[in-house]
Amino acid sequence: MYSGNPRGAWTLFTREVNRFLKVKVQTIVAPALTAILYLVVFRYALGDRGVPGLGIDYFTFLIPGLVMMSMLQNAFANTSSSIIMAKVMNVHVYLLMAPLSAVEVVGAFIAAAVLRSMLVGAVLLLTLSPFVDLSPAHIWMILLYGICGSILMGGLGLIGGMWSKKFDDMSLINNFLILPLTFLSGVFYSVKQLPPLWQQLNAYNPFFYLIDGFRFGFLGVGDSDPATAAGVVVAAAILTVLACWYLWSIGWRLKE
């Protein structure tokens, strides 16, 4: 029976949500605008060119991947920026002092990250809906990949925030790990277009399964087996949450 501090966890969740809503132009509108700009550029650069092997045009192929990439990046940004700012400003001590367990803290942070990710995704899809047909092929796949991907990235953001001592450390993670993994995950191309070696390497990138599974939810076509993709994504999300729980409970890089 849970006898913890549900009000405390809810307060932390609402605080996190209020924090990103106070700067909504930066956290919701700007990412959506960036993704739309990508779409416009690719639309005019590539015209009606199709994607080899999938039987769909490139623009339709691009939309779910870009939506998912924005969602993943924002889930990561939400937790990582909150933790690193708190650490740099030394306000993380109020969280450490509060009667909140690691489960409550991690749960609240990740739930807020998932909500921001969903909002970014929703804004993007709503903006694009008048121009393209976005009727989903498998709504449950979209939700599964959207939620699991956001949990995974929210968790990785939490770990990144805990690891970082300064903003520069966070920038290192962002630019040399998250950005390459998301860009090289099949957002802008089908892995069937890659040489065999790169196709094999891609199989080890969990972000590839996230993008591909999310796309499968919309288009009903993809590069990977949906069952394998779902397994990888769910396992990665669970492992990340467990890692977050363990690291927060030992005060990793938060307490000396």
Binding site: G4, W10, L12, T14, V23, M89, M97, K255
Partner: protein, 322 residues
């Protein structure tokens, strides 16, 4: 006051760089007391408070709060404490009232508007309630720290140098409020470098120096045990102290100052039928005749602190200066 609010036993903390901050400190803070935790900079006061607050990992030793293990029953113990940290830091996204509401929630309480309004009023923050913390002055931010620590009505309030760099008005306001909370049953643990404040407010005191406990007892007991009164005699002409005079006055640890015009004698405890003052005065009068003026200087907590922590000043005065 027989019950113990906070019991610390054998608390030891070694930082990653090898610096030993606490060498197995043991002390007890009685329930309902106004307890001063004193020590020079770097003595280990904040380290001890940070371990209690769960900001630092404990090393060895135990801490119990109202009978419960601080390290095992973290959630329960944290709800019993309100800690005002030394460093002023705030979330830049929120207003004063939002911060207090959030802190209430962290501690599992529904935000109590009446109590929050009272805290704002008592700490002079009513007009700043809807301002963002970035708009507050340093003093106002420190007030907010205090309000934040009290928002869940904790039975133990820990104040880590709460008046460092703040004006007289806030100090008075804060101490009045703390006295009232203490009268209503809260235990107050205070660290401060303003020793006059500690002496005036606190009924118990612990002094730590270089991570070791030097004293821990009721304030009155410490002052009675360690503080010394001195008889200060002023003469019209400089006096000379011979070896015989020195031998006769040795119990009074004589000190001559102001080029021989002033003689300081340490007063012994009163004896039956004769006060310490009379004994010292008579001994000096027999040697040097009647003085122009006589006064008694009573050591305060600052003198006691300096003496116990071995800081500057105290040693030189114990020798005769010719």
């Amino acid at each position: 006051m027989n019950k113990i609010a906070l019991q610390v036993d054998g608390l030891r903390k070694v930082y990653a760089n090898g610096n030993i901050a606490l060498h197995g400190i043991s002390l007890a803070v009685p329930e309902g007391s106004f307890f001063a935790l004193l020590g020079p900079n770097g003595a280990g006061k904040t380290t001890m408070i940070n371990i209690l607050a769960d900001i630092l990992h404990p090393g060895e030793g135990t801490m119990t709060l109202f009978g419960r293990d601080v390290f095992q029953e973290k959630s329960w113990c944290k709800r019993q404490m309100g800690i005002v940290p030394q460093e002023v830091a705030f979330d830049p996204f929120f207003s004063v009232r939002e911060i207090l509401n959030t802190t209430s929630g962290y501690y599992g309480c529904r935000p109590d508007r009446v109590w929050i309004d009272e805290l704002l009023d008592r700490l002079g923050l009513t007009h700043q309630a809807d301002k963002n913390t970035r708009q507050l002055s340093g003093g106002m931010r420190r007030r907010l720290l205090v309000a934040q620590a009290l928002v869940h009505r904790p039975p133990l309030v820990v104040l880590d140098e709460p008046t460092a760099g703040v004006d007289v008005e806030l100090r008075r306001r804060l101490w009045d409020f703390m006295r009232e909370l203490n009268r209503n049953g809260a235990t107050i643990l205070l660290t401060t470098h303003y020793l006059a404040e500690a002496e005036e407010l606190c009924d118990h005191v612990a002094i730590i120096d270089q991570g070791k406990l030097v004293a821990s007892e009721p304030m009155q007991s410490l002052m009675h045990r360690v503080a010394v009164s001195r008889l200060v005699l002023r003469y019209a002409k400089p006096i000379l102290i011979s070896a015989t005079d020195e031998a006769a006055l040795t119990d009074f640890k004589p000190v001559i100052l102001d080029e021989g015009l002033e003689l300081h004698l340490e007063l012994r405890r009163d004896e039956p039928g004769m006060s310490g003052f009379d004994v010292a005065y008579e001994a000096a009068r027999n040697r040097f005749g009647p003085p122009l003026d006589a006064a008694v200087h009573q050591e305060d907590l600052e003198d006691v602190f300096v003496r116990l922590t071995g800081n500057t000043g105290a040693e030189g005065e114990t020798h005769v200066q010719r």
